[in-house]
């Protein structure tokens, strides 16, 4: 969770919504080498994730093998594949959440605009603040107010944020998550009182409140009804203007509708590691995939 992930961050940031130098890994203490570079980047922009030869393990079990891909900024990349093919594990490796599982390890390289997120000097907590995550089940803090849910990341992140600044971030985030109009008159009510779709958008608001560079979403709509799903998909389409977005989905139509690039993962048999089979423009994957394996999967012939 983003809130938890940001808890340990040492450095305070007085203006979480400010545009300058934000969202760099260098914000965390252990990576002073990159701070000048961060300062040199005016404003914020989405970033490219480069994945090279990544292998992921749970103890002795290899879950993912040899994934190399480029995740482009300002695009929605969908990860599809049958259960157990390692796509969620792979997603979790993109913001160093995989290593939170006991015994889990990562080989290979993942860089965010050229910076190795697995560099020994990089604070994983900082990585998770830059690369936010939204989960399958909406998980707002149920008793916490809507306002505090959105502000949670800020509260953990920063020493001092004025009420006015916080108000601004909360409103901007809720507007960004297309939720403001629905909740503006009941910001003090508990987050658990919202509908499932609203809760998921609240979680997205919470994720974007700390201004990440990348948003990872693990089946963000699987617990939502079709109307709420479309609302979240519309939101994703808008968020891609500001973020790099990676979505894991089991819903083929969602991948077809909501993503620009689709990556198909598969595994040869149960117990074998999952691997990337094919990645390309979504349109191509769904109209004319290069590999028969992809074709069989997207047309529902197996899986």
């Amino acid at each position: 969770m983003l809130g938890a992930a940001t808890k340990k961050q040492k450095r305070s940031d007085s203006e979480p919504g400010a545009e300058t130098g934000r969202g760099e890994m260098s914000e965390s203490r252990p990576t002073p080498a990159t701070s000048t570079e961060a300062a040199a980047v005016p404003g914020r922009r989405a970033k490219t994730i480069e994945v090279r030869a990544v292998d992921l393990f749970y103890g002795d079990f290899q879950a993912v093998e040899g994934v190399t891909m480029t995740i482009e900024p300002n695009k929605v990349t969908a990860l599809i594949g049958s259960s157990g093919c390692g796509k969620t594990t792979f997603l979790r490796s993109l913001n160093r959440m995989h290593e939170l599982t006991p015994g889990a390890r990562v080989q290979g390289e993942v860089t965010l605009d050229g910076e190795d997120i697995y560099d020994g000097r990089v604070d994983p907590v900082a990585v998770r603040r830059l690369i936010g995550m939204v989960f399958q089940q909406p998980n707002p803090f149920p008793t916490m107010s809507i306002y505090d849910n959105v502000a949670a990341g800020l509260n953990l992140n920063a020493k001092k944020v004025s009420k006015t600044q916080k108000d601004g971030v909360v409103e901007r985030s809720l507007r960004g998550a297309h939720l403001w109009e629905e909740v503006k008159d009941r910001l003090d009510k508990p987050g658990g009182g919202l509908s499932g779709g609203q809760q998921q958008r609240l979680c997205i608001a919470r994720a974007i409140a700390v201004e990440p560079e990348v948003l990872l979403m693990d089946e963000p709509c699987s617990a939502l009804d079709p109307v709420a799903t479309l609302a979240v998909e519309d939101l994703i389409a808008e968020l891609k203007n500001r973020y790099t977005i990676v979505v894991v989905t089991h819903n083929m139509q969602q991948a077809a509708r909501a993503s620009d690039v689709t990556a198909f993962f598969n595994l040869d048999e149960t117990g074998k590691p999952g691997h990337l089979v094919e990645m390309g423009p979504t349109e191509e994957i769904f109209t004319n995939p290069k590999k028969k394996e992809t074709e069989d999967y997207v047309s529902g012939r197996f899986g």
Binding site: T287, N288, G303
Partner: protein, 228 residues
């Protein structure tokens, strides 16, 4: 995982393909009768072809609707999606070819029971018709076998039809001053034109074969930018 998932859907799609391509058999039969009617100036047979076109239209509507239902309920993608898209095209081609047979059959009564028929002209029309019929069956085989090479060969076969069509035109010009004969020749040119268009529809089906197989649609020949 099961050997074949979505077995019913796949069977339905295969049945619809067979049904749609079966429309080409209907067209082939209609064209055969049309040629016979032209050869013998058989007005009654011509009327039968006109009436029987309802069967071809019926096939078009029935399979078209079923394909739309598959699109709505099964969310086909990749090859399945291309196949359905191409079948929708092919059905339209079939419907048009049926109508062209009707067009030919409708001009037969105009020329009367004892027309001043020119044997050479009739032979040209029959030759065109037989060639067109062969094109239709070749298009069907190419589709069934997903045979792009055979589909592309349709262009070459179609050139034969086009040349015969030009021969018809030249011959009509040479048929002399007799008003009745000229009028008859005009109706035969309409028939030739309809057959020429029918053959073009068969070539269009070949283009759809290439689309299903390769995922790329392009016209084999562009009428507005002829290569030759």
């Amino acid at each position: 995982m099961p050997e074949v998932a979505r077995a019913e859907y796949l069977e339905e799609l295969a049945n619809l393909e067979a049904s749609a391509l079966g429309g080409l058999d209907l067209v082939s039969i209609a064209l055969g009768r049309t040629l016979e009617a032209v050869e013998h100036q058989d007005v009654e047979l011509a009327q039968l072809v006109v009436a029987d076109d309802d069967r071809i239209d019926g096939r078009y509507l029935e399979v078209h609707q079923a394909l739309i239902t598959l699109l709505a309920t099964q969310s086909p993608v990749a090859t399945d999606l291309r196949l359905i898209s191409s079948l929708l095209h092919v059905l339209k081609n079939i419907e048009r070819m049926g109508d062209q047979c009707v067009n030919v059959c409708k001009v037969i009564p105009i020329s009367g029971n004892e027309p001043p028929a020119d044997r050479e002209m009739v032979e040209l029309i029959l030759k065109m018709g037989r060639q067109t019929k062969a094109l239709i069956m070749q298009a069907k085989r190419a589709f069934e076998g997903r045979d792009v090479e055979m589909a592309q060969d349709l262009v070459r076969q179609d050139d034969v039809v086009d040349n015969l069509n030009r021969d018809c035109f030249r011959l009509a010009l040479e048929l002399g001053d007799d008003a009745d004969k000229r009028e008859w020749a005009m109706t035969m040119l309409l028939a030739a034109r309809a057959l020429e268009r029918t053959a073009d529809n068969a070539v269009d089906i070949g283009e759809q074969v290439a689309f299903v197989v390769t995922g790329l649609f392009r016209e084999f020949e562009d009428a507005s930018h002829p290569s030759a």
